[in-house]
């Protein structure tokens, strides 16, 4: 299409290299650490030459952590499963609640729609700490403390505003004409929403869902305060490697690798929507 001068090519290449270096170096380093023992990690000066070991991963997967102080039980796989379940369920619920609402705000302008939309978004403003203490007390009273249902509900604070706000923009950007034509042809509102609006906004929904998933995955404080040990996510679980005989950096690193993997796989899978499909309508390629 457009011509690019060689100099610009070089500069662009250089820029992208620097960007990749800055953002990927720590990831690569963490990846390398996950195959090392604490002894090689804590070497001076740091070095990339080491004998790789799988002990960190076996420790995480079998749940037995060998340290100077003996064998420790760890529940990392359980934590991983909790993260997976909590994030997936929260995003699913968030989409179920958020997408229709986003459609209402984006497409069917109605009296007070902006106020309601803003109110919903404003839940994002409340610092989580502010609501946590009263929340634990109320959850205790209504029996939601230490339940997945309660947690998924609270996770809506993170997930819902994000979905609502991003998806709403997509609904607004879909030309109304297509839906209109379909309606005129005698189809019900619901079938228009399902057959026309949803597929058109699909990429936006996927992107919002993925971002919401990441934010839910990274959450820390809700499960910690509201649930018992068997419902804790990886973010809390990985801290178990800070032991009396020192931080087990290799295991923390392996834990990070294992906790990035599912999200990364999801992102790669959704790549089509996320990057390719995020652009709407007008562009032809």
């Amino acid at each position: 299409m457009d011509t690019v001068s060689p100099l610009e090519r070089v500069l662009r290449g250089l820029a992208i290299t620097v960007v990749i270096l800055f953002f990927m170096f720590p990831i690569v380093w963490i990846f390398l650490m996950s195959f090392q023992t604490n002894e090689t990690i804590l070497r001076v000066p740091p070095s990339v030459v080491f004998e790789p070991t799988l002990t960190n991963y076996t420790a995480l997967i079998t749940g037995k952590l060998e340290t100077a102080a003996g064998t420790l039980e760890i529940a990392f796989m359980r934590n991983l499963w909790n993260s997976l379940f909590l994030s997936t369920a929260s995003v699913a619920v968030g989409l179920l609640l958020g997408v229709p609402a986003a459609y209402a705000f984006g497409r069917l302008k109605f009296r007070g729609s902006e106020d309601i939309a803003f109110t919903l978004l404003s839940f994002r403003f409340a610092p989580p700490l502010l609501v946590l203490l009263p929340l634990t007390i109320y959850f205790q009273k209504i029996g939601l403390a230490d339940t997945y249902v309660g947690l998924i509900w609270v996770y809506q604070l993170i997930v819902l505003p994000l979905i609502l706000w991003i998806v709403r923009g997509y609904f607004e950007d879909i030309p109304a004409d297509i839906e209109y034509a379909y309606r005129i042809a005698g189809h019900s509102w619901f079938s228009t929403f399902r057959k026309i609006a949803l597929p058109l906004a699909g990429p936006g929904i996927a992107a919002a869902g993925l971002l919401a998933f990441i934010f839910a995955w990274n959450n820390f404080i809700f499960a910690l305060v509201l649930a018992s040990a068997d419902k804790q996510p990886v973010t809390v679980g990985a801290l178990a490697f800070v032991t009396a005989s020192g931080i087990q950096y290799g295991q923390v690193a392996a834990g990070i690798v294992l906790s990035i993997a599912p999200t990364f796989a999801l992102a790669l899978y959704a790549q089509r929507y996320l990057v390719e499909g995020l652009s709407l309508g007008a562009v032809k390629g």
């Binding site: 102080a69 068997d230 800070v242 009396a244 931080i247």
Partner: protein, 481 residues
């Protein structure tokens, strides 16, 4: 299941077989040392079952514990089957990593949750939990012969440690006074003393320092003589945890107090005396000259990791931190040694401030008597001996364990100087802080001031005057000063 083993162990218990002989015979049968320990304790537990106490009173009850990820916890869990067998009770537990453990405790207790019957805590925390009405005064159970088994031997606990867990709830009230409430029971504790890398000190040609000035010199000399290390590790993060270990132990050794208590029970800052200013100045200088370059982010695990990895020559910190850094998986495994430390040249003995991992009972528990059964077993002499000899349950809080020759020999074998250090400093070991509910507010600010002094942002005297002023203001605001 373990019939043959059981016979052997019973022979050992009755005295017809030596400990070494027992372990050897068990080893021949393919039983590991840890399992052997559990078996020995099973025998001790069987003996316990015969002391006339109704252990089965709460059979069928389930108690739930909130625990910190710690070797003490691991030792308890390893031995838990014996308790279940003894009492017919079931025990559930939630273990949380230390970084978030106390947040979890605060969240659970402040919401009045009845989920947990008992939990691990430190004595400082009970200065909040007690007045808040979250924990029970355990004297009620300890003194009740119908609820506590005759072999519990409460007096076996080290006095300083036991007293440090008891407070009458009055701000400034003496710890362990007659009207004190036993908010928690000591389980394991840490003294703050020196752990040093003998090779590094040798290389610098300096001996083990005997007071603060010598420590400062030795740290500087070791740092100069060894490549890529720093002299002395102490904590420095912006937290109460920076004040309570080595720093306060030394501070108390110079006869200094954190707060003054007037006759009418009012509190005021005491950290801006001349002696205190002098001590602070030396401490700050020591960190500037030979402390960790990233001291201000050092919590206990950086202090420990550096020592274990051979990045520092000494630490003036928890003795058990030095203990763990001498174990497998550390570059300096087996190369560390221990010494009691009295920073004040005029002092007769060390006065370590102590951290006590303790057990407390939640006020919101629905089955307190059953929870007490667990507490008296977990803090009882049998489990303490099991933990100390078979697992890493150091430092035990019971005199009987410290008198056990098996335990002493084991320690002295791999941890040179450890037993001697403990014996010398135990008499002066207690909590040297003034008990009051603003403990965390004031010590956090103290740590922040120390950070500013070390960074050279404020001179020591001025910093201490400002700190004292702020402390006094906060005490007044809270109605304590």
């Amino acid at each position: 299941m373990y019939d043959k083993e059981k016979t052997l162990v019973d022979a050992y218990m009755s005295g017809s077989l030596s400990r070494r002989g027992l372990i050897k015979s068990l080893g021949a049968m393919g039983v590991t040392a840890a399992t052997a320990g559990v078996l020995v304790n099973a025998a001790a537990t069987r003996a316990l079952a015969q002391n006339g106490f109704d252990w089965k009173k709460h059979a069928g009850t389930t108690v739930k514990l909130l625990l910190n990820k710690h070797p003490y916890t691991d030792a308890m869990i390893a031995n838990l089957e014996n308790f279940k067998e003894l009492t017919g009770m079931d025990v559930q537990y939630d273990v949380f990593p230390e970084d978030v453990y106390f947040d979890k405790v605060t969240a659970a207790l402040s919401s009045g949750s009845s989920e947990y019957d008992a939990f691990m805590t430190g004595a400082y925390m009970t200065w909040t939990y007690g007045p808040a009405g979250w924990v029970e005064d355990l004297n009620e159970w300890i003194t009740d012969a119908s609820k506590t088994n005759p072999d519990y031997n409460w007096d076996d606990m080290l006095e300083g440690v036991r007293a440090s867990c008891a407070w009458n709830g009055r701000p400034g009230g003496q710890l362990g006074s007659d009207d004190a409430k036993q908010w928690c029971i000591p389980w394991g504790y840490e003294q703050n003393n020196l752990t040093y890398n003998a090779a590094m000190l040798d290389k610098a040609g300096v001996g083990v320092p005997g007071n603060l000035d010598e420590l400062i010199d030795a740290a500087a000399a070791a740092q100069a003589a060894n490549d890529g290390i720093y002299g002395v590790g102490v904590r420095g993060s912006r937290s109460w945890a920076t004040i309570h270990p080595g720093f306060l132990s030394g501070y108390a050794n110079f006869g200094q107090k954190d707060l003054n208590v007037s006759d009418d029970g009012m509190l005021s800052a005491a950290m801006n005396t001349d002696v205190s200013k002098d001590y602070h100045a030396k401490w700050v200088k020591m960190i500037q000259d030979s402390g960790a370059p990233d001291w201000s982010t050092h919590t206990w695990y950086q202090v420990g990791t550096d020592l274990g990895a051979g990045k520092s020559a000494m630490i003036f910190d928890a003795d058990i931190l030095g203990y763990f850094m001498n174990g497998a998986g550390n570059a300096m495994e087996g190369q560390l040694a221990y010494a009691p430390f009295a920073p004040n040249p005029a002092a007769d003995a060390p006065t370590p401030n102590i951290w006590i991992w303790s057990l407390a009972m939640s006020t919101f528990s629905q089955q307190k008597d059953a929870a007490w059964y667990f507490l008296q077993w977990a803090s009882g002499p049998e489990h303490a001996l099991f933990g100390a000899t078979q697992m890493d349950f150091v430092n035990p809080v019971r005199k009987s364990v410290w008198a056990d020759s098996g335990f002493r020999d084991r320690l002295s074998g791999s941890y040179p100087g450890y037993v001697d250090m403990h014996d010398k400093s135990a008499p002066g070991a207690k909590i040297h802080f003034t008990a009051q509910p603003l403990f965390f507010d004031l010590t956090t600010e103290w740590a922040a001031s120390l950070q500013k002094m070390v960074a050279g942002e404020v001179p020591v005297d001025e910093g201490l005057d400002q700190l004292a002023e702020s402390v006094n203001r906060q005490l007044k605001e809270a109605g304590l000063g």
